[in-house]
């Protein structure tokens, strides 16, 4: 019903008056008035974010904090309970509220309430502190101080379940390092938490979450938990069947942490299958449990082909697809489902095949334009995963405007994590074995990739180069020329000499693809007085990293497969240092422990000494003078079969050419 504007203004002003009045009453000297005001405030803000913010701006938190301190001095239990509860409500799920409570100095007073003789006061204090510890803003608890550990144990040993819950919340919030995990294990916390698995519903949940925190990525803690008592692991397994969905989820998460930390545990196919089905069922929960279940599911599947196969057999793709089709998905749920699909499609072609046949791709493409950055990132990760299919890349299934256009837009997303994820998907999609790379260029993707390759952020430079390297892979001449003109020779040589070795390696891999294919493409490394080739030579001379050596040697090998001028240019790079009196880098590479590097080096020699090339004979003489031929002769029984065969090819060529030394 329409309401006159004046009526609205009047209502708002009366609300402000009432609120100001409430604030006055909180500061009243009359205990009864103060108590009623605190209760009223608490009731108004419970579960109401807008009201919390409104009263926060009115300065309610310092006022309540003051009331708490006064009540503490006078040991007024009712006032303590209400003021603690009001502060807890401000802190509940509301970071600005937590900040205000901490700034008001109430934290120490709330801790002091835990020693109060009245159980109700203790309970209110513990409840309030739990709210605070659920926020990242809560102060870090130092477990390494003996007194603190004793205090924590006293909380966990309490008869009051809110207090034990507080102890668990402190662990969940503050236990981050292996040292802290170890300290908690040594103090007997695992044992205590295991006993709480048989406590009240809230104790079970708190205990499961704390156990997962202490065990996560700490195999020693995982083994201790499993071996300390026979009951421990079976209690967690039993809780995965609990009637409360949240308990089931937390039990699953705890089991996943144990398995991911120590893969030797929970290898039984039965438990693995059960976890898959349980989590798929929990996804149906309309609340937070459903949201979190998708993340737990991703964690269960991550890097594990066997579990991905089980999930596939449990129709996980279809189920996730059904969830994705629902309208108005909450961003976190949306993100979780996309990430779960990404994990499922990360290794198995059968999953990708099902994903594509259900046309999930269209829904994922829609998510690329979602307003929330985390959803856009998850959509890119999902796309990256499904585009690992060479079978689909060969069929040109991804190089389509409906995918490429929104993806290219994300390359200049304000969020770096979105940019990095988009680069991951782009890198795969541009491999495209068909001749459709032009679609990407037409959408403006090349310009953006080149821009990002010059970013100040090395991660962005690296990922942009991954994309450019794959775009260059088997590209036709027109495409190569466009990439080179956009990138320019000076930029490319700077990237080869980038301060970060992983960027150097990618830049060299890009040049390797540039000079592959049509013979004419070798000309690019000679542009601008050969600055690219010189940069490669310098890097190869100076590097100690095999990966850089491998890519660099393949660039030289590809150039050496060209004409006489190209071969001589490579010879110049190989022997430059010899002429300066130092060891040639190729000798170092031929002697490397890395068989791939030895292979790359020997291919260069093969290409330089192809018997049909006119200058082969003189090059063999020069290689012999530089002790390269004698080095190759020592490699006839190389432990790597690849190297052995190529050594045999090279020696055969030397013989054909008639070097006389073989």
């Amino acid at each position: 019903m329409p309401t006159p504007a004046s009526a609205l203004a009047s209502a708002s002003s009366s609300h402000r008056r009432a609120s100001s009045d409430l604030m006055v009453r909180i500061g009243s000297a009359d205990s009864e008035i103060k108590l009623r005001a605190l209760r009223e405030l608490k009731n108004q803000i419970i579960g109401n974010r807008t009201k919390k913010l409104f009263f926060l701006k009115l300065g309610a938190v310092p006022a309540v904090s003051c009331a708490l301190a006064q009540a503490q001095a006078q040991a007024q239990a009712d006032l303590l309970v209400q003021s603690a509860a009001a502060l807890g409500s401000f802190a509940c799920g509301f970071d600005a509220g937590v900040r205000a409570v901490l700034d008001s100095g109430a934290f120490a007073n709330l801790v002091a309430l835990l020693s109060f003789p009245d159980d109700k006061v203790v309970d209110a204090g513990a409840r309030s502190l739990r709210m605070i510890y659920q926020s990242k803003l809560a102060p870090k608890y130092d477990f390494l101080q003996e007194k603190n550990m004793e205090f924590l144990l006293s909380l966990l040993n309490s008869e009051n379940e809110t207090v034990t819950g507080l102890g668990a919340s402190i662990i969940i919030h503050s236990c981050e390092t292996v040292v802290e995990q170890k300290a908690l294990c040594n103090a007997g916390v695992l044992k205590k938490l295991t006993s709480l698995l048989e406590g009240s519903p809230s104790q079970k949940d708190a205990s499961l979450e704390s156990l997962a925190t202490i065990i996560k990525k700490n195999p020693e803690a995982a083994s201790k938990f499993v071996s300390e008592s026979r009951r421990a692991l079976s209690s967690v397994i039993d809780l995965s069947k609990d009637r409360n969905p949240r308990t089931r989820l937390l039990a699953c998460m705890c089991l996943i942490v144990i398995r991911n930390t120590s893969p030797c545990h929970l290898q039984d196919i039965g438990i693995k299958t059960k976890l898959v089905y349980l989590l798929l069922e929990l996804l149906d929960d309309p609340g937070q449990v459903g949201e979190e279940a998708s993340f737990a599911f991703s964690s269960l599947l991550a890097q594990k082909e066997d579990l991905q196969k089980l999930a596939f057999e449990a129709n996980a793709i279809d189920k996730l697809h059904n969830h994705l089709q629902k309208h108005l998905l909450q961003p976190r749920r949306y993100q979780g489902i996309l990430l779960a699909l990404a994990e499922l499609c990360s290794k198995l072609e059968s999953c990708r095949s099902r994903f594509l046949s259900l046309e999930v791709l269209n829904l994922v493409t829609d998510a690329l334009t979602h307003e929330v950055a985390d959803v856009r990132t998850a959509a890119c990760i999902c796309l990256r995963s499904v585009s690992r299919s060479i079978k689909s890349l060969s069929a040109g299934r991804f190089m389509k405007e409906m995918i490429v256009i929104p993806l290219v837009r994300l390359l200049h997303d304000p969020s770096t994590s979105v940019q990095v994820a988009a680069l991951g998907a782009v890198s795969n999609i541009v491999v495209d074995f068909t001749t459709a790379k032009s679609t990407f260029l037409q959408c403006g993707g090349l310009k953006l990739l080149v821009q990002l390759s010059k970013s100040m952020d090395p991660i962005l430079r690296f990922n942009a180069l991954c994309g450019l390297r794959n775009l260059m892979f088997l590209a036709d001449n027109t495409c190569k020329e466009r990439i080179f003109l956009e990138l320019t020779a000076p930029s490319l040589s700077s990237l080869i000499c980038d301060p970060e070795p992983f960027v150097q390696e990618r830049a060299l891999a890009l040049v390797r693809n540039l000079v592959d294919g049509c013979l004419d493409s070798i000309k690019y490394v000679f542009a601008e007085d050969g600055i690219i080739l010189d940069a490669i030579g310098r890097q190869l001379q100076n590097t100690s990293k095999a990966e850089i050596g491998i890519q660099g040697m393949y660039v030289l090998s590809n150039i050496a497969s060209g004409n006489e001028f190209h071969k001589e240019a490579v010879m110049h790079q190989l022997l430059l240092q010899v002429n300066n009196g130092t060891q040639a880098f190729i000798l170092k590479f031929l002697q490397s422990n890395d068989s791939q590097l030895r292979t790359a080096a020997i291919w260069t020699i093969i290409n330089l000494t192809i018997p049909s090339s006119p200058g082969a004979s003189s090059r063999v003489v020069k290689l012999r003078s530089a002790s390269i031929v004698s080095q190759i002769k020592t490699m006839v029984n190389d432990p790597c079969v690849d190297v052995k065969f190529r050594v045999s090819t090279a020696l055969g060529q030397f013989m054909t050419i008639g070097d006389g030394s073989t």
Binding site: R388, K391, S394, F433, C518, N558, S561, W603, S613, D642
Partner: protein, 220 residues
């Protein structure tokens, strides 16, 4: 390479693994590497002669992916002078490497019996040292890791540039042998409904270069 349709083609198989998150060359480590770790090109012919007519189609093959850990490789095959096609016909194929870990000499599918397998493998001279062992236990105990030949099966999965109504079939598959020393490939096409023992002969190509050139990509 597709062949003329004799009967309706069999449904294509879905391989359960494709490589991911690795650079192409990272999958190397055995003797396939020199020619296979880079998407390498091969060209040659497939003899499609029948009793009525001597005929060979020119064929180009490009390896697009290889994952030795899972005994997987894939690529495209282009048939150039197919009589009933206006353009070269390109197919995508997936391969199984006989490594006795992921795959043995026995196919166990695609309508190939152990007898068919033995008859085809027997065509390769390089198979001779394993013949008796394969007769005995399917060659499960044979060590192929340092052998200078690689045995494979290639199965075409779909037509890349023409429709399935092109009058050609990809129902069969190839028994393939790759020579690590010279990079040559020979193979025999098997399809119970096509001419038997159509021979495939391929040599590595260097696309007009005086040597060998290698590119690489990485799927993230």
């Amino acid at each position: 390479m597709p062949v003329r349709v004799v009967e309706s083609s069999a449904p294509s198989q879905v391989s359960d693994f494709t490589p991911g998150m690795h650079t192409f060359e990272c999958w190397t480590g055995c003797s396939l590497a020199p020619f296979f770790f880079s998407p390498y090109a091969f060209s040659g012919t497939q003899n499609v002669s029948s009793l009525q007519k001597e005929e060979a189609w020119r064929v180009n093959v490009r390896i697009q992916g290889c994952d030795l850990e899972h005994g997987y490789l894939c690529g495209t095959m282009e048939a150039l002078n197919v009589p009933m096609a206006d353009t070269p016909v390109v197919t995508f194929w997936e391969g199984e490497i006989v490594d006795t870990i992921n795959y043995t000499f026995f196919t166990g599918k695609w309508e190939a019996t152990p007898e068919d397998d033995k008859k085809h493998w027997d065509k390769f001279l390089s198979f001779a040292p394993f013949k008796s062992q394969v007769e005995f236990d399917g060659g499960k105990t044979v060590d192929l890791s340092n052998y200078p030949y690689i045995f494979m099966r290639w199965k075409e999965q779909y037509f890349v540039n023409v429709g399935t109504d092109c009058g050609l079939t990809i129902a069969g598959f190839y028994y393939v042998c790759f020579s690590c020393s010279d990079g040559s490939i020979s193979g025999y096409y098997y399809d119970p409904n096509s001419s038997p023992f159509q021979k495939l002969e391929l040599k590595s190509t260097n696309e007009g270069r005086s040597g060998f050139s290698f590119s690489s990509y990485e799927l993230q």
